[in-house]
């Protein structure tokens, strides 16, 4: 194990901002993509259903 304590882990020998900035933003990007994908999926489904109802009339 490299780390003596949690605070040392978060500090990353003074490079915490850079390391966690990188990993954090990457996680954020992935999260945003997944959320957008979910939202787009339900939106598309709703839109297609609506169009289908309209066309069947």
């Amino acid at each position: 194990m490299e780390w003596a304590s949690w605070s040392e882990f978060w500090d990353m020998a003074g490079y915490g901002l850079y390391v966690w900035g990188s990993f954090g933003v990457t996680a954020l990007c992935v999260l945003i993509e997944v959320i957008l994908l979910k939202r787009a999926g339900t939106d598309t489904l709703r839109r297609l259903k609506r169009m289908q109802q309209w066309e069947e009339q």
């Binding site: 194990m1 490299e2 780390w3 882990f9 990353m12 020998a13 003074g14 490079y15 850079y18 390391v19 900035g21 990188s22 990993f23 933003v25 990457t26 990007c29 992935v30 993509e33 997944v34 994908l37 787009a40 999926g41 598309t44 489904l45 297609l48 259903k49 169009m51 289908q52």
Partner: protein, 244 residues
Amino acid sequence: MKLYTFASPATFYHLAGKLIPWFAWSAGLLTLWGLYISFFLAPTDFQQSEAYRIIFIHVPAAWMSMFIYLVMAFWGAIGLAFNTRLSFMMARALAPTGAMFTFVALWTGALWGKPMWGAWWVWDARLTSELILLFLYVGIIALWAAIDDVKRGDRAGSLLTLIGAINVPIIYFSVIWWNTLHQGASISVTKAPSMAAIMLQGMLVMAVAAWFYTIAVALVRVRRIILERERHTEWAKAILEGDQ
């Protein structure tokens, strides 16, 4: 069963639905393993201290950004040559994730550059190529967005991807050339002082995780595109009606 039955959108829609959870879970587990290697197994670097841990996402993200572009070009070429609708859909489904990884590679590159040589941005060959790759992704996505006609959009986007793919190695080479001329001894972001085996292992695990994630996300997206384009067919109508 012949291979091309998978190329039928209806079959592929269901197949993709079954595959997505597998890829998504594998991506999640591999990410956890990769993170464990990155933070707990890989030792502190004697030169770069802890800051070097950024490579565990920077390098896989850079690999993925280029790899996804090549895969897009591959699907585009297949679509243009054999007129297979599904390949165009795959190309479209991959682009946003490719652009996302390109952005991540740039962002992490900047965050690594700051502590290493005191500047957020250096015109390093790799960072510059990544920037141009991001421009290419943005251009392709913008072209797709501008063309309303699906068939025209598919083909136009694929042609642009192809000429970009021919150009990317030339751009990369020219930027390296330019960089060595202007900065003498080149500083390279990915030049790790001594690449321990465990570091390489960490990067590979993260790269495979990113790859599986890309497949999962692209499959979700391609399912949506298939449903949108096939909504007049019987099987798509059945799905839309059944899934209330």
